[in-house]
Structure formats: structure tokens, C-alpha cells
């Protein structure tokens, strides 16, 4: 990482940092950098920054780097960090919030496949009321470009009758669609 003048970065990122703190209800300044979160994180080995570094960067105002980082997309939400944190900092929820803010600010997701998976999953819930596995696979594969994803295991699943080619449409699916729509409207989206 290149040299940065922290006093100016801290100032220029203040509004964004404030927004993240308000949305997440997580106070990163409580962290004293013990690193317990990083030691127990199952995905840190693959990420660009450890959870400890993410929190430190926020403390120092390097918010944009955090919003562009792969770590916030790789976090799997297992809760190891939060359970062991002596300051009870909710890092999984912080990462959720960072992902959401990152998208709102228009940063391209640093792990596109995770974003496409989430979006495809929720689309099937929005229209059927439940997860529609075959639909998720079709949506995910075409939108992510990983056309063969899941194809190695699909025959085994079909043979055991574990996935259906058809969706299960719940009666209240209109109600569920309305939940999605109302939340979108409240955020000022279409």
C-alpha cells in the first residue's frame, strides 16, 4: 500500500465513516487490535485484508480501500470473530453493512461471483416465496459466466430426487414480492 497522509484521509472520509457507523451500529474505535478475529477467520487466508486490518483501516479513515476490498465479500458470517472478540465488535454485521454501502456507492463488487450468487438466490425467493434451486443455478451460471458450475454434482442430486426442476410456489408469494418491493421503494429505488 502506498503512503497516505492520515490526517487528510481521516477528514475526507469522515462522512462516509459516520454513515457506516450509523447503519451498522458498530463502533470500530472500540477495537484495540488484538488480532483474535484474524486468527480465527476461516477465509482470511484467501482475502486481501484480515478482519483486524479492515477495522484498523476504518479507524484510520481508509474507507474507500475497505469498500473495494475482497474481504468484505468473502466474509461468510460464521461468527468466530464476534464470539471471541474481547470488545464484542460485530465484524460479520460490519462486513454486511460494508457490502451494502459499497454497492450503494457504486463500487464494483471485488468478488463478483458472491454478489451474483446472492442476487440470483434472492430473485428466486422474490418470485416464488422460497429458494428455487434449479432456477438459482440457471441464473447464477448465466450471470456469473461460470456455465458449468454445479454440473459435476447435479446428476447425483437428480438421481437421489433431491432437487426438482420446478419451483415450489407458495400461496403468499405475492405477499413476499411486496416485501421486496416495499423495501426497494423505501430506499428510493424502482
Amino acid at each position: 500500500m502506498e503512503q497516505v497522509a492520515l490526517n487528510s484521509v481521516l477528514k475526507s472520509s469522515q462522512a462516509l465513516n459516520q454513515e457506516i457507523a450509523e447503519k451498522s451500529h458498530v463502533d470500530v474505535n472500540k477495537c484495540y487490535q488484538c488480532g483474535t478475529c484474524a486468527a480465527g477467520c476461516p477465509v482470511a487466508y484467501l482475502a486481501d485484508y484480515s478482519p483486524r486490518q479492515i477495522v484498523r483501516m476504518l479507524q484510520n479513515g481508509l474507507v474507500e480501500d475497505v469498500l473495494k476490498s475482497r474481504m468484505i465479500w468473502l466474509c461468510i458470517g460464521c461468527g468466530n470473530c464476534l464470539s471471541r472478540c474481547p470488545r464484542k465488535i460485530d465484524v460479520p454485521h460490519l462486513n454486511d453493512t460494508l457490502r451494502i454501502v459499497s454497492k450503494e456507492k457504486g463500487f464494483p463488487p471485488a468478488e463478483k461471483s458472491v454478489d451474483v450468487f446472492n442476487d440470483s438466490f434472492l430473485k428466486t425467493v422474490q418470485y416464488t416465496g422460497r429458494l428455487y434451486e434449479a432456477g438459482l443455478t440457471m441464473l447464477y451460471n448465466t450471470r456469473s459466466g461460470n456455465f458449468m458450475s454445479g454440473m459435476d454434482v447435479a446428476p447425483h442430486m437428480m438421481k437421489l430426487g433431491k432437487i426438482s426442476p420446478f419451483p415450489h410456489l407458495i400461496k403468499g408469494r405475492g405477499e413476499v414480492s411486496r416485501i421486496f418491493k416495499k423495501i426497494q421503494e423505501r430506499k428510493g429505488g424502482k
Binding site: 451494502i100 450468487f117 446472492n118 429458494l131 458450475s149 442430486m157 403468499g172 405477499e175 416485501i179 423495501i183
Partner: protein, 289 residues
């Protein structure tokens, strides 16, 4: 006893053996599992990773339907369970957000009901003595590594599980039905289920870590209380074996399947014939089928 039951999406498809065995075992224990009518998906990880309101709204609809019928809920899937716990916790302590959510779901949810996981259900609500009373065939000689996974136990403030690092309630159930629970350090390590499709390399590594240790201590199988862990660890086992040049061939059971076997149900009645890892050789070796 009658309690609300939220199967969640995977119990009707990839986790069908969990569904079948829960129902068979509960019936034998004299518990009526009342399935929440017309339930919707809890949103799982994609919902809470994408929006701050959506996960609580999706869960509040299901919880409200149960509450209207005066029911607490048991949620067999650890992911559903975790999200329901989070929704109840938030909405119970934030009246303004509860009002907001009720406007969105067009219901009058009060966040007055509770949610239990399947281990809690068997261990605390039913009780080990009642389970012991139904055992017809002790699972003697079966060495089991209890794999609790992450979302069932963490964070402890939300899940109220017995111990977030070394839980023992599932081990006690396993002991009650005559099998031998092993001491091991991977009880609550994450299997990576949420990244199974979008980042498969992660689950191959995490799964290999888990199975390698289980194998080294002589486990015959893992037992879980989560359809995501069970699916992930069985379905992707051949890919783990290929990637790391190892051989596990280790079945992953749901706790209800093992209880069911000890109650004298046939493997087929419990859906044990639907595993991705063939369970027949182990059951034959241990004379359990």
C-alpha cells in the same frame, strides 16, 4: 407437546433425510410438529448480506404466522435458526424497527415467541431421559465426531448455546443413544457452506481440514444439526478427496437420523438411503441396519 416447525427450503429438497427423520422421531416422542402454514424462505446469507431490513422482514412473516397461532418455533436448519434468532432479538429490542417491519409485512408481529434449534429441542425441550426411554437398539461401537458448525452456536449472545467453543449438548444426545462421541477441536469450525457455489475452493479446504482431523481420531462419521453442513460436507467430499489426494468416504448424519436408528426405525424410513455418501457399508459393519 405441540410446537411450530419451520422446515426451511433445504429440508424439502437437499435435506429431505433431516425432514423425514425429524418427523419420525418427534412422533415417537409424542411431539406434534406444527408446520408453519405457507412459510417463506428465511433469506439465508444472501438476504443479510444484501439489505439491512429484508432479513428481518422475511423472518418476521414466518414468525408472525406462528405467533398468531400461539406457537414457539423449532428451526432445524442452523442458518434459518440463526436468522430467526437475529430477527427476534432486533425486533424485541427496537420498537421502531418492529413498527417498520410490520408495515412492510402487513402483519401485527409482537416478537413474543421463541425459536429453538433441533439440538436444543431434543436436549432441553424433550429431555435426555425421554429419549433414553425410547431407545430400542443402542448404537454401540459407533464413533461419532459431533460437528455443530458455526451458525448453530455463534454468536452466543444470539443462540444461547451451551458453549461457543466446546459445546457438549449434542455429544450428550449421542451418548444417550449408545454411540461414542469423540473429543475433537473442529466442533464449531465453519464448513464454508455459504460459499459452496460462489467460491468452491474455500469449502474444499475447510472440509478437508474437518475430515482429516475426524479421520485421524478414528471417527466413523460426523453428526450435525444443519442441512447446509450436511449437504456441503457430503456432496463436495469427492472434490475434497480429489483436490487433496485423500480418501474419507465418511457419512455425515443429522442428529435426528441417529436418534431414529436407535429408536428402531429402518434407514429408509429416516431417508438414510438418500445420502450422497453411501451409508450402507458403515451401517452393515456396525450392525445398525
Amino acid at each position: 407437546m405441540k410446537i411450530g416447525y419451520f422446515p426451511g427450503c433445504s429440508l424439502e429438497s437437499t435435506g429431505i433425510e433431516y425432514h423425514l427423520s425429524n418427523k419420525a422421531v418427534a412422533k415417537k416422542l409424542g411431539v406434534e410438529l406444527w408446520e408453519i402454514p405457507d412459510w417463506n424462505c428465511c433469506g439465508a446469507s444472501p438476504a443479510h448480506q444484501s439489505d439491512l431490513v429484508l432479513p428481518n422482514a422475511l423472518n418476521a412473516r414466518n414468525l408472525a404466522i406462528a405467533e398468531e397461532a400461539g406457537m414457539d418455533v423449532v428451526a432445524p436448519c442452523a442458518a434459518c435458526y440463526n436468522r430467526m434468532c437475529a430477527a427476534i432479538e432486533t425486533l424485541k429490542n427496537d420498537p421502531e424497527e418492529l413498527k417498520n417491519i410490520n408495515e412492510i409485512i402487513e402483519r401485527d408481529y409482537k416478537a413474543s415467541n421463541k425459536v429453538y434449534n433441533m439440538v436444543e429441542f431434543f436436549h432441553d425441550l424433550v429431555g435426555l431421559d425421554k429419549i433414553a426411554a425410547q431407545v430400542q437398539k443402542k448404537l454401540s461401537g459407533l464413533k461419532v465426531a459431533c460437528y455443530y458448525g458455526c451458525l448453530l452456536v455463534k454468536p452466543p449472545e444470539l443462540t444461547r448455546f451451551d458453549n461457543p467453543e466446546n459445546p457438549t449438548s449434542m455429544d450428550e444426545i449421542v451418548e444417550t443413544i449408545g454411540a461414542t462421541p469423540l473429543v475433537w477441536p473442529y466442533k464449531t469450525e465453519c464448513c464454508g457452506g455459504g460459499l459452496a457455489i460462489s467460491k468452491t475452493e474455500v469449502i474444499l479446504k475447510l472440509g478437508n481440514d474437518i475430515f482429516s482431523y475426524a479421520q485421524a481420531i478414528g471417527a466413523d462419521c460426523l453428526v450435525t444439526a444443519c442441512p447446509m453442513c450436511q449437504l456441503n460436507l457430503e456432496l463436495r467430499q469427492p472434490a475434497m478427496e480429489k483436490e487433496y489426494n485423500v480418501k474419507f468416504n465418511m457419512p455425515v448424519f443429522e442428529i435426528s437420523e441417529l436418534i431414529g436408528l436407535s429408536f428402531g426405525f429402518s434407514p429408509k424410513e429416516l431417508g438414510i438411503n438418500k445420502h450422497f455418501v453411501n451409508t450402507a457399508p458403515l451401517l452393515k459393519e456396525k450392525q445398525l441396519a
